[in-house]
Symmetry: C2
Subunit: 332 residues, 2 copies
C-alpha cells in the first residue's frame, strides 16, 4: 500500500511506495522482468503473467492484440489504497495512496521502437491512451491523469518491451499545478493562452520548428530546459488531452513518428522521457491551458545546482539542435 505525505516547505505531496522496494536498503526499483523475449510478461502468449487486462485493441473479436493495457504489478498508486486525509500533529499530514497506475504495451513486438512503427500502429497507441485517460478522469476522487513514456535506462526504465504508463493521482502534482497557475495568470492578464502565443511566435520565427502538419507543430522551445527538448503543440486550443477528437490522433501519430525517428537518427537512439502535459481534472473545459507533448532526451545528469535551486543548465542552444535534427533522416 502506498501513501502520500505533504511537504509544507514546497507545497508538494510526496508518494511513498514501499511496494516498489523490499527493504530500506533497497532503494532501487523492483527487478525488471527479463529482457529475453521468451521470458517477457509483456509479450504475446504471456498474458497470464500480467494483472488482468483492462483494455486492448484487437484484429477483430478474439484476434491478436495490437495494444494492451493492465495495472502495473508494482503500482505507485492504486485503487485499493485508501483516500483518507490524516493530520499527524501540527506539521505532518498524509493521504492514502488512492489512484491508478497502468501499463500500456504499445506493440506485440518486443524489440520495436515507436518512431519506427507504422503511423497506423502509433494511432492505435494514442487511441488507447485517450480511452484510458477518459475512463480514469471520470473518477471524482482523482485530480490528475499523467500519461508518459520512459525509453532507455538513463530515462528510468530497464524494460525493453516498449510501453507507456498512466498514473492517476489524488492531488494535483506540483509542476502540473505550477504550469496551470502560470497559464491562468497569463490568461487573466492578457486574455490569451501563453502556449498559443509562444506557438505563434515560434511559427513566425521558424528557427526552432523541426516538423509541422495541419494540426500540430514540433518545436525546440526558445527556453528549452534540456538539450534537444522537443514540444509538440496542437493548433486547436484545448486544455485537456482527453478532449482531442479521434480524427486528430492520426496527424499526431505522424508528427510523433517524425520527431522520434529524427531524434533516434541524430542522437543514436537516446534515452528519453515523454509526457503528455494536460490540465488538472475539472479544468478541462477552461481556456487557460493548451495540452501538449514534451520529450526530454536524457543526455546530461542534473547535479547539485539544478536539484538544489531548480535552475536548469542547458549546454546546447535549441537553434543549433534544430539544425542537427533537420539534417537527420526521419523514418521512411
Amino acid at each position: 500500500m502506498s501513501l502520500l505525505r505533504y511537504d509544507p516547505t514546497t507545497n508538494d505531496w510526496i508518494v511513498f511506495s514501499s511496494e516498489r522496494s523490499r527493504r530500506p536498503h533497497d532503494t532501487a526499483l523492483p527487478p525488471a522482468p527479463p529482457n529475453d523475449a521468451s521470458q517477457c510478461p509483456f509479450c504475446p502468449g504471456h498474458e497470464d503473467r500480467t494483472p488482468p487486462e483492462l483494455f486492448a485493441l484487437r484484429d477483430g473479436p478474439g484476434g491478436a492484440w495490437s495494444v494492451r493495457v493492465f495495472a502495473n504489478k508494482f503500482p505507485v498508486l492504486s485503487p485499493e489504497s485508501g483516500h483518507d486525509h490524516v493530520e499527524e500533529g501540527r506539521a505532518f499530514r498524509r493521504l492514502g495512496g488512492y489512484g491508478a497506475h497502468e501499463i500500456v504495451v504499445e506493440s506485440p513486438d518486443h524489440r520495436t521502437f515507436l518512431g519506427h512503427q507504422p503511423v497506423d500502429q502509433i494511432d492505435r497507441v494514442l487511441r488507447t491512451l485517450l480511452a484510458r485517460f477518459n475512463t480514469l478522469v471520470q473518477d471524482t476522487r482523482l485530480r490528475a491523469v499523467v500519461v508518459f513514456k520512459n525509453h532507455g535506462a538513463a530515462a528510468g526504465t530497464s524494460l525493453q518491451h516498449p510501453h507507456w504508463q498512466i498514473i492517476a493521482t489524488p492531488v494535483v502534482p506540483r509542476l502540473m499545478r505550477i504550469r496551470h497557475t502560470i497559464a491562468t495568470d497569463y490568461f487573466d492578464r492578457t486574455g490569451r493562452c501563453v502556449y498559443c502565443d509562444l506557438l505563434e511566435d515560434e511559427r513566425a520565427a521558424w528557427a526552432r520548428v523541426i516538423a509541422a502538419n495541419d494540426h500540430y507543430t514540433a518545436i525546440l522551445p526558445y527556453a528549452s530546459h534540456a538539450p534537444y527538448q522537443v514540444r509538440i503543440l496542437p493548433r486547436a486550443h484545448r486544455a485537456s488531452f482527453g478532449r482531442v477528437p479521434e480524427e486528430e490522433l492520426r496527424p499526431l501519430a505522424a508528427i510523433l513518428r517524425e520527431v522520434l525517428s529524427r531524434l533516434h537518427a541524430a542522437l543514436g537512439d537516446p534515452a528519453f522521457n515523454l509526457t503528455i502535459n494536460t490540465a488538472p481534472r475539472g479544468d478541462e473545459h477552461k481556456p487557460y491551458y493548451l495540452w501538449h507533448i514534451e520529450i526530454i532526451p536524457r543526455l546530461t545528469t542534473p547535479a547539485g545546482f539544478e536539484l538544489g535551486c531548480g535552475m536548469s543548465i542547458n549546454t546546447v542552444l535549441p537553434e543549433d539542435a534544430t539544425d542537427v535534427l533537420r539534417q537527420a533522416a526521419p523514418a521512411a
Copy 2:
C-alpha cells in the same frame, strides 16, 4: 559566454552555457581533468593549471594551502558576461550570463572523503564557503548565491579530487523563489517560520532524527523527496547562511561529519548532492526563512512521471532509513 532565456510557461530562467560543450552533438560536460593525482589540476604543485586563486587558507604566510578557491575553468555564469536584458519579439526574453562560478577545493588530498576528514578541516572548508558567500553577496547585480557539492558520477561529477562549487546568479532560481515565497506566506499566515515549526515537531517526535548537538539537528524529513534525504537545520533562526557567526561553524562541521560518515557506512559511499539552501540576496535580514543544508543521495533515477509532473516517488519511508543510519557507525 553564457546567457539566460526566460520560459513564460514556468517562470524559469534557463542558463545556456555553450562553453560547457563544444558542438551541438556534444551535450556532455567538458572532459573531466584526469583522475590520476599526478595529472590533477586541483592537487598541490599544480596551482598554475587553474584560473587565478581567489581565496585560500594556509598554514601561516607562504605555507601550504588547506582549502583553495578559483573560478571554474568552464563557468556556467561569469563576471565577464553582460547583464543586458533583451526582448526578442513578444514571447522571447534573454539576459546576459552575468554571475560567478567558483571551485572550492576542500583538501590538498586527492582521495579523501569529507565525512572522514578531521572536524578542523571541515571547519576550514565551511569558513571558506562563508567568506566567498559574503564576498559574492555584496555584488548588487546578483540575486542569489548557491553553494553546493556533488559527490560521485551519479550525482553529476566525474572529478575525484573533493571540491565544492559556488554559483552566483543574476535572477532568483525557481526552487529558491518557491521555497522563499511559501515560507513568507506561512509566516504571514501564522507569524512563525515553517522550518522552525517542522524542526520543533521533528524534535518532539524524534523518529527521524539521526544526529543533534547544541546548535544543529539532522533529520530525515517526514515528507522526504528521495530515499535517505537528510536535512541539517540550525537552532538559531537566521534566513541566510552568510549571517552564521564563525563560532557556529565548528558544531556544523561536527554534525556534517557525522551525517556524511553514517551515509557512507550505511550505503557504501553513495553518490549525493549537497546544497546550502538560503534566502535570496536582499532578504537575508527578514524572519521568513531558515537557512539549512539538504543532502540528497542519488540512489534512484527520476523518470517521466517525476520529470513530467514534478511529483516525487520515494521508495523508502524516512523512519526506516533513520533506523538504518542510526545503526551505521559514524567516523571515529
